[in-house]
């Protein structure tokens, strides 16, 4: 049977009509989602999904919204960890880790960056030394979103120092709640503290917790990064209306989990507020403001159409193009342009923050949150390198460390 948008829509709608019950506990509802496959319809049928093409995800999501139904737990677990585990994890890991991601029992964080290695992720120096069937792990991670409430971390650590840097890294499903793990919040320039430093001192992971093969973690990390670029433009923050136990518990979960991230919508530039604010302030009569608004909305729409075109090409089975990095770059262009346009619209009021500021401080928050967008998840410069080298085939940057055993590679003095 061929899957069409209409057939999927009809099927999910019928299923929701028969099964969505807002009076269930959130946990029970999500168990039901896991069993039915409708919570993550693009995952394989063997693993809580329905094996639908990626393009159908938005169709299913629309139907959930229409029915007022809660979905699976969102965040780093379902967005980054799960697809990585599905691609590279053993069946044992899939069995142990996927279901709690769906139900929200396990939150995940990404333990990639280190003080000495951000863009040059493969230069990391957190070490994982073999001890029988386990690894002893020590090092420092930084900028880790969600680390303070996560049960698991996607952790990269070096397991071999005698080979070139990309070949000695392993990828762990790392338990956060164990001796030797200390999480300390870091305050950002916008005043919030949503990411952390994580100090790891002789913590442990088992051999079974390696995702992919020992020393082969780099290709697994690339899979996660590709998902991260793809997700960069997607942020669905529709607050749920309605009542019922599942919905109330979801709202509580959200309030708790999202508390450190209330500024997240602001980091994308809040294009949705632009026209409203221009009208309310009367600045929409200003020819310069009008030009900037038209530019911004054009860019936003063009980025949306580009993502959609890539998605349709994928459905047709055409090879993937540069859309991940393009989407990531567009996200930061839009954020920056939106911040500038907000400042233009607000004029001198843009000086004021908090209750004194326009939109009860939201405008100030936008101006102070947008700079993170072009750094998080791979900087703009790194995205350009990726496009130039992988997509356009321009020569790679000359490196000084290629082929050298990692132990002989020059590193940051502090490491």
């Amino acid at each position: 049977m061929t899957v069409t948008e209409a057939s999927v829509r009809a099927e999910v709608r019928a299923w929701l009509e028969a099964h969505w019950d807002p009076e269930l506990s959130l946990r029970d509802w999500r168990e039901r989602l896991a069993d039915s496959g409708w919570g993550c319809p693009t995952w394989p049928e063997a693993w809580y999904g329905r094996g639908l093409p990626l393009a159908m995800e938005s169709v299913v999501r629309q139907e959930f919204r229409r029915a007022g139904a809660v979905g699976i737990a969102s965040g780093g677990g379902s967005g980054l960890a799960a697809p990585t585990i599905l691609e590279h994890g053993s069946d044992e890991l899939k069995r142990a880790l996927l279901r709690p991601i769906i139900t929200g029992e396990h939150a995940w964080c990404q333990l990639f960056s280190e003080p000495g290695s951000g863009s040059d992720l493969a230069g990391l120096t957190t070490r994982a030394d073999r001890d029988g069937d386990e690894f002893v792990i020590s090092g420092q991670k930084v900028w880790n979103t969600s680390a303070h409430h996560a049960q698991y971390g996607m952790l990269l650590a070096r397991t071999n120092w005698d080979v070139p840097k990309h070949r000695g890294i392993s990828y762990f499903a790392f338990e956060m709640e164990q001796p030797g793990v200390t999480v300390r919040p870091l305050q950002q320039m916008n005043g919030y503290a949503s990411f952390n430093e994580v100090f790891i001192n002789e913590a442990r992971a088992t051999l079974h917790q390696v995702i992919g093969q020992v020393d082969q973690g780099w290709s697994v990390a690339l899979a996660t990064l590709a998902h991260e670029r793809r997700l960069a433009g997607i942020h669905d923050d529709t607050p749920l209306e309605g009542s019922g136990r599942a919905i109330e518990e979801y709202r509580e979960e959200r309030a708790h989990v999202m508390a450190p991230y209330v500024w997240y919508p602001q980091r994308y530039g809040r294009v949705d507020l632009i026209v409203k604010r221009a009208r309310e302030t009367g600045r929409d009569n200003d020819p310069v403001v009008r030009q900037e608004i038209a530019k911004l909305l054009s860019l936003q729409r063009a980025a949306g159409w580009t993502a959609e075109r890539a998605k349709q090409a994928r459905v047709l089975g055409r090879p993937p193009g540069p859309e991940g990095s393009i989407g990531k770059l567009c996200g930061s262009h839009i954020a920056r342009q939106a911040a500038d346009t907000h400042a233009l619209i607000s004029e001198s009021d843009a000086l004021l923050a908090g209750e004194d500021g326009p939109e009860a401080g939201i405008i100030a928050e936008i101006l102070l949150s947008v700079p993170g967008q072009s750094i998080a998840g791979g900087t703009d410069e790194i995205q350009r390198n990726i496009l130039a080298e992988r997509q356009l085939g321009l020569p790679r940057d000359p490196t000084t460390d290629a082929g050298k055993p990692f132990r002989d590679v020059p590193r940051n003095v502090a490491d």
Binding site: D284, A294, S298, R301, A303, W305, R309, Q312, I326, R384
Partner: protein, 384 residues
């Protein structure tokens, strides 16, 4: 969501057009026709119409066309833009034939369109008059009733191929009318009495522009007199989208050749494409070109389905794609260094197209202001 990818059949059609243009419109030929007064090769145009049917691609079968849509037309335009083809396609088909198709009576369509579609006749659309006036609503030229016919008085500028076309589709208004009222379309033979035609020196010799002066020129109305505003607006929206596809094709080609050059040109013992300053320019070009392409394809799909928000999409597309092509062509010269600034290198051919196409039918600022009005921004929303 509209379909934003071309089907395998459409891509096959593209490769046929591309092969034809590779053979018939290499840069040496482009240069030859840029120097020529008429500005195109009649034999190539005939074969494009006879063998590939491009002239009537988007016109209804009843008028000698093939009843494909703006989507198939977009493929032809991208390829023409890529090859910088010098041809009557834009003036005669995209502008004049589309205006007739939307603004003429059935009888007039039957009389005029088949000859345009098969390439045996070429027409031009004369609507613009002053630099700032890319809207037909600003037309000042008058059409005074004179028996069954009309007498046209006034001047037109920026008429694409207006000096050499066999016939002219002319926009004029009932004396005393203003704005969208009283606008009509007329057919005027290229050699009519009282008509003076002069080719204008222009920035981009690959697309010829003319000034036309009318002193009591007798003309027949193509559609019901006084009612042409809607058809004209629609024609110009479609033309903006068509021009955007031509620009997308050009911009893609510019990106390809520039990246190719950056891979082979060596300075400081390395290909210049290994320097990040150059790499990042190329990456930014790629982003611009991809966004422009998605936008133009989306607009063509919207045109094909007769979308209601077409005016907004046309304005958005014209502005965004113009900026992308202009930026790509500018960076292309920069990345080529000194050689890119010479007459003998092809960079400037694309640069001139990019510049001129950005201005033709209204520049990016003009179209963004149109967008703002259509989005009902500001006090002017009442008059949008």
């Amino acid at each position: 969501m509209r379909s934003l990818t071309y089907s395998d059949e459409q891509e096959e059609f593209r490769s046929v057009v591309r092969r034809f243009l590779d053979d018939h419109s290499p840069p040496t030929e482009v240069r030859r026709w840029m120097e020529d007064d008429a500005g195109f090769d009649p034999a190539v145009w005939r074969r494009l119409c006879d063998d590939l049917g491009v002239g009537g691609l988007h016109l209804p079968e009843a008028y000698g066309g093939q009843a494909f849509s703006a989507v198939e037309q977009s493929i032809v335009l991208q390829e023409m833009g890529r090859a910088l083809l010098c041809s009557p396609y834009f003036g005669s088909i995209v502008l004049a034939a589309t205006a007739i198709a939307h603004g003429a009576t059935d009888a007039a369509k039957k009389e005029r369109l088949p000859d345009l579609a098969n390439g045996s006749q070429r027409a031009a659309l004369a609507f613009a008059e002053q630099t700032s006036a890319w809207s037909p609503h600003d037309v000042a030229m008058t059409a005074t009733a004179d028996g069954a016919d009309f007498r046209l008085d006034g001047s037109k500028r920026f008429v694409v191929d207006g000096h050499s076309a066999d016939g002219l589709v002319v926009v004029a208004r009932v004396p005393g009318s203003t704005g969208t009222d009283g606008l009509s379309l007329f057919w005027v033979a290229g050699d009519a009495d009282g008509l003076e035609r002069r080719r204008l020196e222009s920035l981009d010799p690959s697309r010829k522009l003319a000034q036309l002066d009318f002193a009591g020129v007798r003309a027949a109305a193509l559609g019901a007199p006084g009612t042409a505003a809607g058809a004209l607006d629609h024609t110009l929206d479609l033309a903006c989208i068509a021009l955007a596809h031509e620009m997308v094709g050009g911009a893609e080609r510019v990106l390809e050749t520039t990246v190719e050059y950056a891979k082979t040109r060596v300075q400081f013992g390395r290909p210049i494409g290994s320097f990040q300053a150059i790499k990042h320019k190329c990456a930014d070009m790629l982003v611009d070109v991809e966004l422009a392409k998605s936008t133009a394809i989306h607009a063509a799909a919207a045109a094909a389905e007769g979308a209601e928000d077409l005016p907004l999409l046309a304005a958005l597309t014209k502005a965004l794609v113009s900026d992308a092509y202009r930026t790509a062509a500018t960076e292309s010269i920069q990345i080529h260094g000194g050689i890119g600034f010479t007459w003998e290198h092809d960079c400037h051919l694309y640069f001139k197209r990019a510049r001129s196409a950005a201005i033709l039918l209204g520049d990016a600022t003009h179209h963004r202001e149109r967008m703002a009005r259509l989005l009902e921004l500001g006090a002017s929303k009442a008059s949008a």
